[in-house]
């Protein structure tokens, strides 16, 4: 029977596959599927590693990226950093083995995670050019740098060092990796330049020097010296830990009591919470974790969701932050003068599969942004830009699942990519970002992550809508303003002419139509000065008295121009004016000038009022509680129950 031996014949072929072999055959999975992309991916892996190293070490990154062309399709790539360096004995393993690294077994927010990236790039270079990589490293206490040439033995997934050397190096500490690879250098979309620019936007504390193959050296300067705090390691959070993983962890725990295991091997489980979990799960707290069986594990797993457990700690995550998102967007949008920057949203940390993560969103709207095409998306994961595979990315899927029509963007049927003059920036940071493949091009659409991005988008969307509503409300008020300022006087005049009678008094009609105190700020920029006029109109039917407050940029304020002098001006720039009584339909003006700000340095001030019900005020916000108002400017000057005001309110 020839078939008898078939299974045996098959068995003879069945054997283990080395991880290097695997990726050698599947190099496209690491992002090396075309010559153009291979070059970008190599740069990306080098830069990710370099930035991670510096951030962990706590130094401001100072990077060099250099690309030379050696042949028609062969390039020489250098990535250099001022990180901590690597001790000699580890250098071969870190760069010469796949799935080897320091970050996989710790839970913290880093760009690199798997111990795959840079060694993958070295593997790719070796496969395509046959040339070894050159790695140089110097730690702070070394006098000279250690340098090796290495290949990867893919059958065994082990480094093969061809040459060891010591080199004088002017960097105090750092690492330098040189590879040769088959690639193609391009400009424009999805290019190295675009990648580095996008990186610079959200890593403004880094200095990156880029030397392209031909053309001038380009430096992305450091614009902030504020290094994000180094990533903090955390334990897995109980939310989203799979049942099987829980069992596994219990089995491997060094603790002897279940409560101790829960308390130490997870984050956010205190001894009280650990006991509560055991009680809820009806599992003896003192039982040995090793003996946890499936049904007990299941009950504990369920109890995780029933017992109140704190959200994961935020200190393990380092979001870009609202200020930097806004700055970054301003850079990108450049000269298109958008109408509105929605205040960026940074969501509180959430958990998927035990990993804390945060979603952040920023939206820019209007102005000269093109309105007849899909919105532009800027994607980041752990502060690294994502340029490929947008369609497969959780960010795009989240955007497509939101009904943007509610927020004022065009969208067919309330699903899919919205159209309109907008740019949406999405950043996801996590102790582990779930990429769709090892090439780290797109975030996998894990439901928890998509949901958080959606929430951030909706929140941002609401801000966008509220901006549009405000625009509409302001337009409505300014319509009324036009009625009382322009139409009514003419109406009085004309009706008097036709009837042949004296002009009627229109004051009460005006109050009936407006019934607000209208605060109107006008800014004119000329001769390097911003001339600011704040006009306070009393368009109610009673005389009013109120206080106006503003935060003035003291550096720029020309104090001589402040008219009238503020009742109070504090060292932090907070200014208050107690205004005189304003009769109906009359106004009071406050003026000041600012010097030395750029044209766009002052667009409008934050104005606050006190002393009148804020529902009656348009154009200023109520004074916030933390303003620390002095006694002289107390509330209640406005007579409550003014009978005329009430009549107005009724019919208004």
């Amino acid at each position: 029977m020839p078939r008898q031996s078939f299974a045996e014949r098959l068995a003879a072929k069945q054997r283990e596959i080395s991880v290097s072999e695997f990726f050698e055959r599947n190099k496209h999975i690491l992002g090396f599927d075309s010559a153009t992309k291979a070059l970008l991916t190599s740069v990306k892996e080098g830069v990710d590693n370099a930035l991670d190293a510096c951030q962990e070490y706590g130094v401001l990154p100072d990077l060099l990226v250099q690309i030379d062309r050696v042949d028609r399709d062969e390039y020489h790539l250098v990535v250099e950093d001022n990180g901590p360096g690597i001790v000699k004995r580890q250098v071969p393993k870190v760069f010469g083995r796949l799935l080897y690294g320091s970050r996989f077994h710790t839970w913290s927010q880093t760009r690199g995670q798997q111990g795959l990236g840079i060694s993958g790039a070295i593997l790719y270079g070796q496969i395509t050019t046959g040339k070894p990589a050159v790695v140089r490293s110097k730690t702070a206490q070394d006098d000279v740098a250690y340098q090796i040439e290495l290949l990867i033995d893919t059958k065994r997934n082990r480094p093969q060092v061809l040459k060891r050397d010591f080199q004088v190096w002017d960097r105090e500490h750092g690492t330098r990796v040189e590879t040769h690879l088959r690639g193609r250098f391009i400009n424009g979309r999805q290019s190295v330049m675009e990648y580095l620019r996008a990186t610079a936007i959200v890593n403004p504390y880094a200095r990156i020097v880029f030397q392209p193959p031909d053309g001038a050296r380009r430096t992305f300067d450091r614009v902030s010296s504020e290094l994000p705090r180094p990533p903090v390691e955390v334990k897995p959070h109980p939310y989203g830990v799979e049942l099987g993983t829980l069992l596994q962890m219990a089995k491997e725990s060094s603790h002897r009591r279940l409560t101790a295991f829960l308390q130490s091997d997870f984050s956010r489980i205190s001894s009280r919470v650990a006991k509560e979990i055991c009680r809820e799960a009806e599992v003896p707290p003192e039982s040995h974790p090793k003996n946890l069986n499936l049904s007990r594990a299941k009950r504990i797993h369920v109890a995780f969701r029933r017992v109140k457990i704190m959200a994961p700690p935020t200190d393990c995550l380092s979001p870009i932050g609202q200020r930097l998102i806004r700055t970054g967007l301003r850079n990108v949008v450049g000269s298109l003068r958008p109408e509105f920057y929605a205040p960026p949203v940074t969501r509180p940390p959430a958990v998927y599969g035990g990993h804390p993560f945060q979603a952040e969103v920023g939206i820019v709207y209007g102005g000269e942004l093109p309105g007849d095409r899909p919105v532009e998306i800027l994607r980041y994961a752990n502060r690294a830009p994502l340029l490929y595979q947008q369609g497969a990315c959780a960010t795009a899927q989240a955007i497509e699942s939101v009904d943007w029509r509610r927020y004022g963007l065009e969208q067919r049927g309330g699903r899919g990519m919205p159209y309109g003059p907008a740019i949406i920036l999405v950043h996801v940071c996590a102790t582990r970002v779930p990429f769709t493949s090892e090439a780290k091009e797109a975030i996998s659409p894990i439901p928890e992550i998509v949901a958080e991005i959606v929430r951030a988008l909706q929140e941002s969307g609401r801000r966008l809508r509220s901006h549009m509503n405000k625009k509409a409300r302001r337009a409505k008020t300014s319509e009324k303003f036009e009625i009382v300022r322009s139409v009514l006087p003419l109406m009085a005049e004309k009706s008097a002419k036709i009837t042949g009678r004296p002009p009627p008094d229109i004051t009460r009609t005006i109050a009936k139509i407006m019934n607000v105190i209208w605060i109107d700020e006008r800014v004119v920029f000329e001769d390097g000065r911003h001339r600011v006029r704040v006009q306070v109109y009393n368009y109610t039917s009673a005389r009013k008295r109120l206080a106006l407050h503003a935060v003035l940029p003291l550096d720029a304020l020309d104090e001589a121009t402040v008219q009238p002098a503020p009742t109070q001006l504090r060292a932090d720039g907070k200014a208050s004016w107690k205004l005189p009584w304003i009769p109906p339909t009359e106004k009071v003006v406050i003026a000041f000038e600012l010097v030395g700000l750029g044209r766009r340095g002052y667009e409008e001030g934050d104005l606050f009022v006190s002393g009148v019900p804020t529902t009656q005020v348009v154009g200023a916000e109520p004074l916030p509680g933390d303003w620390d108002l002095e006694a002289t400017l107390s509330e209640g000057d406005d007579l409550p129950g003014d009978p005329l005001a009430e009549e107005v309110a009724e019919s208004g």
Binding site: K480, V487, I498, T499, P504, K512
Partner: protein, 368 residues
Amino acid sequence: MASQSQRARQRAVVRSLRGLAEKVYEHLEHGRIPEMSIPLRTKSNIRLNARTGVWTYGKAKGTRSAKTLKGAKMLLRTLYVLDFIRDMIQEGKSSTLRELYYISEGWEYAGFSTQDESNLLAEDLEILTGSLREDFRLRPEEDGARVMGNLTVEELNRRGEPKRFNCRDDVGDSGYGIPHNVEAEKLKLIDCDADFALAIETGGMFDRLVENRFDEDMRALLVHIKGQPARATRRFLKRLNEELGLDVLTFVDGDPWSFRIFASIAYGAIKTAHISEYLATPTASFLGITASDILNYDLPAADLTPQDAKALRDIQSDPRFGDRFWRDEVELMLEVGKKAEQQALAKYGLDYVTDVYLPEKIAQLGLG
């Protein structure tokens, strides 16, 4: 030049205009928000006046108030227009609606932004004062009707001289063109020897009937109404009917738009329902083209467009078309899905319309 009655009428108009301005003045003087209320000019707000047989506005009203910028501006413009009309009456001038629109350019802030606004305001003033636009010295752009047949009229021309014409013998082949103002003070109907008036939609058909001397053969007064008829044309038909006792027959294309032309002649248009009593001829009959004609005469017909079908369905919910005849005809047209033009009758030769179709249809209506 102006007659006694004309002068009295002018005084009444000036008085009612002044009344409107006074209302605004009072509102302001008393600290109220100026407003005017006007009947809603919609299909749902017209009612059949059983006494006159025409459709006029019901009780639903809309308010134009100075609370909104749009309303306030409209009120202001109303005042300006009042003033302008007063001036015209005093100087004995008149103006087109388009001229009014451009004149308002000089009013700066109170100027109209589109001509629709000024047209609308003219109609509003008619409603508010109960006067006619003609009394305000405002006239539309449209051409009035051309008339052919044995009717004698006397027109008081621009020099104030009465001129007498017979609309068959004293005119060329293009007929007599009626003036914009066809009120008795401008145009007198002196004498007529015809059995009925035939209101004809297209110039081609009018010329055909003139060429075939249908007016002479059938003792008809032919009136080319030029599509949707101008107000002067409708008023003229009304006077033919009322003063001379002529039956008015309507001969238009067979499509929803032409049905509406008939409705504006017989029932009064929705936009001008406030003056339906002046303009509508409730006894006017619809001669053709009917949907049944398309079938009975096997006329070349075009498919209804989606807009046509929509217009037909609108007609189905229009109270003016509530009777059995129209319900059946509109339903039939929707069912057949076709429309036809008057001139489609030429399929059977140039004389078919005068030799066969019109005599048959007129006989069906119990005339001729």
